[in-house]
Assembly symmetry: C5
Homo-oligomer: 98 residues x 5
């Protein structure tokens, strides 16, 4: 999975019928140190993630292994909201500190 | 999914038989801010997208999860037409403004 | 799918038994404007593509959705021969003009 | 598979229900010579890997082929702990020498 | 598939149980002209490839379509040993000439 931040959403009224009712969030990927990268994905939300939350995105066929996305044409799904992460024993990012 | 714009189409009369009748569109990928990238994909259209529309493309096995593409040898499918998207609360792109 | 040109072939007498009899073609990927890129794939041919033809290559599990490649360990398959493509209403490449 | 080192872990109390109880480790990818790369993945651990161990990560649908990860929305799984590797007959990295 | 050379092997005594008995080879990817690239993969061998042989590697779910790797958590498998390849009618690499 990659770490990213929810920075917006995509409106698409005309979409494949199986995608009806799914929230499409814009996620900017981040590096190990929590720095935003020049890369993004539009992901289906399966955990109720909100704007500016740091999340984990699963890509490829794994994006279809949630109840929300089973059998649907999505290649990216938010499957966790990140509380914190550490690198070499040091907390790099913590939602409480934001 | 990645955001891209339909900028053309590909003609291929000689193709794998399961691909018969499918529209092959040329989609130039765009970044978060709506800037065209130096990357593209040839995608099967499952939603009736037209030239110059901004769309979402699903890649990999997810590209086969639409009625149009089930069981077909496509690794990229347009599964939504984008109306608009926002970043940090600001509308970055809106089809009404084009 | 990506656009590429068949520029050669690979000989491999010792291969996984399911790959027996399959043609392995060397495909150089091209950009939207028909310019060769510094990237390639070795693809199984499912449509009788010849040397120097421009083709479409499907990657990943989609490469196994043709009659030729079903259940076989290939991650790239030529599933169409390109006649022409256009960008912004202008023909960029046409096999008749080559 | 790619070689990487476990350099931390990710805490995510709110995640897709199937991910319950799984350990999410932060793995920094390394090159052939054992040099850390500017790339990472958040992987599910299927072998009891510990902090600072060098591991192998399987990506994509292959990440779901372990007992720990079957049917779960993970696109990266640690499926081996590396003891050593050699390049051109020379040992490049050995956990005994660390 | 990508072309690469077997340049070493990885020892991992502690691995996912389904990986037992499989040989893990280090493959350095090569470009069209046979020049080594700054990229590698650790692949399961399904054809008895030896050190310094040039091989084809299948990635993703296709890596599991061999007898050796069926149902196993590998995302890269050597499925052919390369004898030679040509580009634009000229032999670029031939194992007899090495």
């Amino acid at each position: 999975m990659q770490i990213g931040r929810v920075i917006g959403s995509v409106v698409a009224t005309h979409k494949e019928e199986k995608m009806g009712g799914l929230k499409l969030l814009l996620v900017q990927l981040h590096d190990l140190r929590g720095k935003p990268l020049d890369a993004y994905t539009v992901a289906v939300d399966s955990v109720g993630a909100g704007l500016r939350e740091m999340v984990l995105v699963a890509a490829g066929s794994s994006a279809r292994q949630t109840k929300t996305t089973e059998g649907k044409p999505t290649d990216a799904t938010i499957m966790a909201i990140v509380d914190s992460w550490d690198v070499e024993g040091e907390v790099v990012w913590d939602r409480e500190r934001e």
